[in-house]
């Protein structure tokens, strides 16, 4: 294959990755932005989304598309509900103190992971794609489903953006983000907003996972990579900035493929990790964020 088509293929793969990453990272960023909570269990919400999708597809009879559609609705709702319960029973009682919540979410990470191991098992299991369309480019054929993943991510992201900027609930969330106490003084139920935001963040991770599960199999340890990558994306994009997060996801997703071509994947990861640490040390507002006044 020539360099041009090869680059196109790499970019397409990168775009798929960026799309899934953007959804996951926006969830993490939203939770950090509004609640100031670093959710270490975010990757496990991703994992729970994938595993619950496998269960749903397994249980729903009929064509694969039907089961998948059901999973796309049920998994995010289920994972969101689990997150809301975790928020109300644990995080709220810790008064969202940063250090305590980190420790608690580390605890949740282990609990979710081990429960998945117990009830789902140690196997990686595939989920059938809802359709198997192959789009033929002049140089190579490409999975139509992967292109659909990109489109679906864009739709969900636009939906989140519209929700935050155009609806009353979104307005309430942004108000809470700007000034928790004033919001409370204006009669906003901050507890409910927090539970909602935590659920929404988890549901976004779960949605990303359902979309990715026909490409990548569901496994109880699959939450590690999305967590680390989401952290990287959120930090580079500026903690709590949604626009920065999406831009950074595109950047990371696209460049990941290209870096991996030149270096061994492990070395690429080492360099990326150290670079991100340096960004936090020297530009804590992120590459795209503005220093708060």
């Amino acid at each position: 294959m020539d360099f041009g088509p090869f680059l196109l293929l790499a970019s397409l793969e990168g775009l798929v990755m960026a799309a899934v990453l953007a959804l996951t990272a926006v969830g993490l960023s939203l939770v950090f932005g509004v609640m100031r909570v670093v959710n270490v269990a975010h990757g496990e919400f991703f994992m729970l989304g994938a595993i619950s999708a496998w269960f749903v597809v397994d249980l729903v009879p009929g064509p694969a598309a039907l089961g998948f559609a059901a999973a796309l609705i049920i998994s995010p709702l289920l994972v969101g509900a689990i997150a809301a319960i975790a928020d109300m029973t644990i995080l709220k009682r810790l008064h969202y103190e940063p250090e305590a919540t980190i420790v608690a979410t580390i605890g949740l990470l282990y609990i979710f992971q081990q429960l998945a191991l117990t009830f789902y098992g140690a196997d990686a299991r595939p989920v059938e794609a809802p359709f198997s369309l192959r789009i033929q480019f002049p140089w190579f054929g490409y999975s139509g489903y992967k292109l659909a993943v990109i489109a679906a991510s864009v739709v969900v992201l636009v939906g989140v953006w519209a929700f935050l900027t155009k609806t009353r609930a979104g307005l309430v969330m942004r108000a809470t983000q700007l000034d928790r106490e004033t919001a409370q003084a204006f009669g906003i139920n901050v507890d409910r907003v927090f539970a909602g935001v935590f659920a929404l963040g988890a549901a976004l991770a779960a949605t990303a996972a359902v979309l990715v599960v026909p490409i990548q199999q569901a496994h109880y340890l699959m939450g590690g990579d999305p967590l680390l990558l989401s952290f990287i994306v959120v930090i580079i994009g500026g903690l709590g900035s949604l626009r920065g997060t999406v831009v950074a996801a595109l950047l990371i997703g696209l460049s990941d493929g290209i870096i991996s071509v030149f270096f061994s994947p492990t070395l690429a990861k080492i360099i990326a990790t150290l670079l991100v640490a340096m960004v936090l040390v020297f530009r804590p507002q992120g590459l795209f964020g503005r220093r708060p006044a």
């Binding site: 670093v38 644990i90 009682r93 810790l94 940063p98 250090e99 305590a100 980190i102 420790v103 608690a104 580390i106 605890g107 949740l108 990470l109 282990y110 609990i111 992971q113 081990q114 429960l115 191991l117 117990t118 680390l228 952290f231 930090i235 061994s264 492990t266 070395l267 990861k269 080492i270 990790t273 150290l274 991100v276 640490a277 340096m278 936090l280 040390v281 020297f282 804590p284």
Partner: protein
Amino acid sequence: MTGVLNRSAILHIGVVILLFALQFVLPPYHHTNMARIMTLAVFAMGYNVAFGYTGLLSLGHALFFASGLYAAGLLIQMGGWSALPAFSMALIAGGGLALLVGVLALRTTGVAFMIVTLMFAQAGYLTVLYLGEWTRGDEGLVLPAASRTIGSLDLTNDTTRYFCALALFSIALLGCYLLARSSTGRVLIAMRENEERSRMLGYDPLRYRLTALVISAVMSAAAGAAYGVLFGYVGATFASIQYSIFPLLWVLLGGAGTVLGPFLGVLLMTYLVDLAGDVTSAHLLVVGIALVLTVLFAPRGLLGTVRARWLPWLP
């Protein structure tokens, strides 16, 4: 004041004497377990210097533990060094690494500090995997028994191993005890409690934090090197994020900012996981539940609660 000093000194010396006496009565399984617990308790005590006393919540201490483990392990395996010089080099490696990491990471505080230390440790873990040709990655190295000696002491012998672990543990315990009562120790606590005010009193926060981090890392590296030499195995698991979480859990459980808390935390956690092992293979579930329950119901840990309720003189 002298009475108070005696009371707490007696308690700590008593613990050491008790551990010494235990060695004669413990059955073999618990004997080895106890040696492991004391070695890991040194790691926990090191973590406590940074987290418990100075308030530096690091999520990357596996880096320091592993630096000691690998410095000693590789020097023995590749360089043919004997145990004691390799152990000394491991302390230097841990301290040097902490100096480097500290100068960068201590520019940040709070959540950013946690993530930066996490990232450094992750980079360290990946480096261990990347250098698989020498480290053998996840599979790890088994140190030859012939090299695990100090002079004529054979460290593969159960009794010798127990006493070496106890010696290291006692030195670390004494060090922590003296540090907690020293003027430096009090400045470290002041950094945790109120940075602004201590700065106003003329103490340089960066200098004291860096000192605490280096002390903490040297202790962690000592524990890592001792673990490698005493138990003869060096593997990448010890560099993974789990080994950054464990010391946090041990210290939280036993009581952050108490001298004996870390040891108590390791002891409790080891036997809890051990007991749970009979019921479920998912032993990390116990770790998770312990973490959540501790932050919810005993945020000061066992000894922290004891100190607040009954024994205010506990260091």
